[in-house]
Symmetry: C2
Subunit: 306 residues, 2 copies
């Protein structure tokens, strides 16, 4: 386990890098403002060689990366793996990039042609966190589990015997950002409020008629039953509540089932509240630990077959 | 019926003015770039006196106006009338503005504390179009009718024996504008497509899980099953379809019921397609004719009691 590698979670807006050992223990960690959206076409390899490797003092280490860096806007377009996607198949399908020096691999994203009523869909990066969550405990590699990864584009995946057999994306985080920044619901100043978040959860109902329920954020203020400073927490509760109300059923998961929430801890806590409101058990896991665990597991397999 | 008046539909982004006779026949019509959102605080009266009256050559005419001009951002805040709101009560509750010269009235907006699962809610301006639609035919003033007014904030009202007894707003138009302008679903160039609109209607399903269904606009393009130029028509179909699928039930209207659609003719036509898809009969009416009919009916009552 003494061998080290450079692990990269290279997404649209940010690049997070670790030097880790093969067990996934982080030895060093840095963020780079080098999100794929900020890269000029074709410059990913050069930026990596000039900025990331030297900063991490990782000139001689093999590299494993996941995320949007495997898209046409990233280093190179890595074809999606199709669902159902067993962990072993994905880990065996890493794309080795054609560069001199130590090997550089990119984890393929996943594609599903349908997700029980809500396909088609794609992901890049979350598959590594989901499998990282599963690899941390053998019990998660057997039976059926629902994993929720909240974010700008939240992903919900059904994991069956350690294969992702269906998933669905909800644009909840992006809708929240659009509404608080650009819409008629925008307020001059917001103050986080647990009770307004709870009111939003209640207003979300079964998740239907979302375009109508959203407007209540305005009519409550106009009608004097909610202070304007509560609007953002109310909207957060409403949007997350609507997502949580509708998504498990899309993936065939029964009411009350336990759901694993993997991602940013503060956001996971909000999802935990929403899941509890809807009668689900929720277990929260740090997304940063999950991605590192996933990359380390795949690195061990790649190294073994090299 | 020879008496004339100045009829104003004074909304957030636009002011539309007519000189009309008391029967609602337009004699002159002009648009002014004087939406309430563009007014400095307190300047509505001066702008009206300096720009609107002279341009319409209507110095001596009484004036009746509806819309956001009756909000705190407009001329003056006119209290909402509460639902259920009979036409006669609303027409008898016009707010006479304190200005010298011929009378100036503002139509109150409506407020509902609930709308069968989706309250509270407010409207300003659409009530005049809805009653204008009803006043054009005595048959519409008896029994139960569902009237849809599409737009940035679409309004759906249940009219029972010529009173608006419940209504609900859907932010469909605003969501569409946000998504096509600011979101990850934005495309460089869009081409209107009937078949993409129809695909969006189909993808809307029962209207639930909207944040998930929206993402399919992206995953279809990424997955190669839809050209990027189709995204806007697809989103339009998806958002309107989701609204049409969910809203009649919120107002207790059965599947298949006939629905009156009052508003911009091109937008009404899209709603007509969505309603037909969901098995509703749809009758389309021009919103401009409806607002003028509503203002004229209220003017006749105001004049009679003056």
């Amino acid at each position: 386990m003494a061998e080290r590698f450079l692990a990269l979670d290279w997404g649209t807006t940010n690049l997070r890098a670790w030097v880790a050992d093969a067990a996934g223990r982080p030895l060093e960690r840095r963020d780079f403002a080098l999100g794929v959206a900020s890269l000029a076409p074709g410059e990913a390899a050069a930026r990596f060689a000039e900025q990331v490797r030297p900063a991490m003092q990782a000139q001689a280490l093999p590299v494993l990366m996941c995320g949007m860096i495997g898209s046409a806007l990233g280093w190179q377009a890595v074809p999606y793996a199709d669902c159902p996607a067993p962990y072993a198949a994905l880990a065996g399908a890493l794309c080795r990039v054609d560069v001199a020096g130590p090997p550089v691999w990119i984890v393929p994203g996943l594609r599903t042609s349908r997700a029980d009523g809500c396909g088609p869909d794609v992901m890049r990066g979350e598959e590594t966190q989901i499998f990282g969550w599963a690899m941390a405990d053998p019990a998660r590699q057997r039976g059926t589990h629902l994993v929720c990864h909240p974010g700008t584009h939240a992903k919900w995946a059904r994991l069956v015997d350690n294969r992702i057999d269906a998933f669905v994306t909800a644009m909840t985080g992006e809708l929240f950002a659009l509404l608080r920044t650009h819409s008629a619901l925008k307020v001059a100043s917001a103050i986080p409020s647990d009770s307004a978040f709870a009111a939003g959860l209640a207003a979300a109902g079964d998740g239907g008629a979302l375009a109508s329920r959203l407007f209540t954020a305005r009519s409550r203020v106009v009608g004097g039953t909610m202070p304007a400073q509560d609007v953002e927490s109310y909207l957060s509760g409403l949007l997350i509540g609507a997502e949580v109300a509708a998504t498990p059923a899309l993936l065939g998961v029964a009411a009350g089932a336990d759901i694993a929430v993997v991602g940013d801890p503060a956001l996971c806590a909000l999802y935990g509240r929403a899941l509890a409101w809807h009668g689900h058990g929720a277990s929260l896991f740090d997304g940063e630990a999950a991605v590192l665990a996933g990359l380390a597991a795949m690195f061990r397999q790649a190294r073994a077959v090299r």
